[in-house]
Amino acid sequence: MTNTKQTRLMLILMSGILLSSAPVVFGESKIKGTISNTTTIKNSTNKAGKGAEANMGSVVLDNVNQSGTIINKQEISGVKNIAVGSGSEANYGSVVIKNKNVSGKIINIGGEDKDKTNIAVGGQTSNKNSIIIK
């Protein structure tokens, strides 16, 4: 085998090792099991500025591998859920799933919709008692 071939072989071997071992952990979460969120929220305020994301009585999965049921049950009244600024996303009583694999049922049970304010300004996403899959 010539020097060049061996060097190439070594480089391929090294790259393979680096690529196969590095991304094992970082970047995403893995959940095997049910996710359940049961909340009662009254007369409360939830605010997020700058990058802005405000979640209230919600299940939010972003870049996640999940197998199992997702249950979100909430009773929310007299609240303000505000997200101002760049990304701006205000979710309440919602299940939001972004970029990922979920195998299982998704159940969202909302209570009476009463005296609630939900504001998202700027980047603007505002979800109330919803299931959002992106």
């Binding site: 680096l18 094992v24 970082f26 979460s29 049910t34 049961t38 409360s44 500025g49 990058g51 979640n55």
Partner: protein, 204 residues
């Protein structure tokens, strides 16, 4: 002449074979070095990924009742009140938090220029860069309280947050929250933060 020639040829052949030997030796050494390096990398890489500061085999249980308490953190700014936070760890067992917080004030300023800090957790479970084999449960009752995070700005109240983690087990969050303010300002100049979670489960 012929003899001389043949001698010369023999010598040059010897030289060539010597050279070949030395080349093979160098290649052998290089291969060995590379293989050793590669093997070291193979062992090292998973360590980089799974390196855990703490390893716990058994239940992690936090049960608290907090009334009229102030908890403030300046500087890097991380304030935890009635919470469980697990970072860079390996847990084999159940993680549970059971918190009753009344009239509490939890504040993490983290007002630095680059905003590295500013994390306020109240009646919450937060798991980062970890592996948990077992159920995660958070039960929080929070009344008339304030939870404020400046700087990086992450405020969690009655929430389970899982970030870059591997969980084999159910995640349960049960929160009863009344009359509270939860605020993440993300107020530093370069702070990209600003995330406020109340009675939520967030996984990313």
């Amino acid at each position: 002449m012929n003899q001389k020639l043949s001698m010369n040829v023999q010598q040059s052949t010897k030289e060539v074979s010597m050279q070949q030997q030395s080349t093979t030796l160098t290649k052998g050494v290089t291969m060995k070095t590379v293989l050793t390096f590669a093997t070291a990398l193979m062992f090292l890489s998973p360590v980089v990924g799974f390196a855990a500061d703490s390893t716990i085999s058994g239940t992690v249980n936090n049960t608290t009742r907090i009334t009229g308490t102030q908890n403030k953190a300046g500087g890097k700014g991380e304030a935890n009140l009635g919470s469980v936070k697990i970072d860079d760890s390996n847990i084999s067992g159940r993680v549970s938090n059971n918190a009753t917080i009344i009239g509490g004030r939890n504040e993490a300023k983290g007002g630095s220029l680059f905003g590295s800090g500013g994390e306020a957790n109240m009646g919450s479970v937060k798991i980062e860069d970890s592996r948990v084999t077992g159920h995660i449960s958070n039960r929080a009752t929070i009344r008339n309280s304030r939870n404020i995070a400046g700087g990086k700005g992450e405020a969690n109240m009655g929430t389970v947050t899982v970030d870059d983690a591997n969980v084999s087990g159910h995640i349960h969050n049960n929160a009863t929250i009344t009359g509270v303010t939860n605020e993440a300002s993300g107020g530093s100049l370069f702070g990209s933060g600003g995330e406020a979670n109340v009675g939520s489960v967030k996984v990313d």
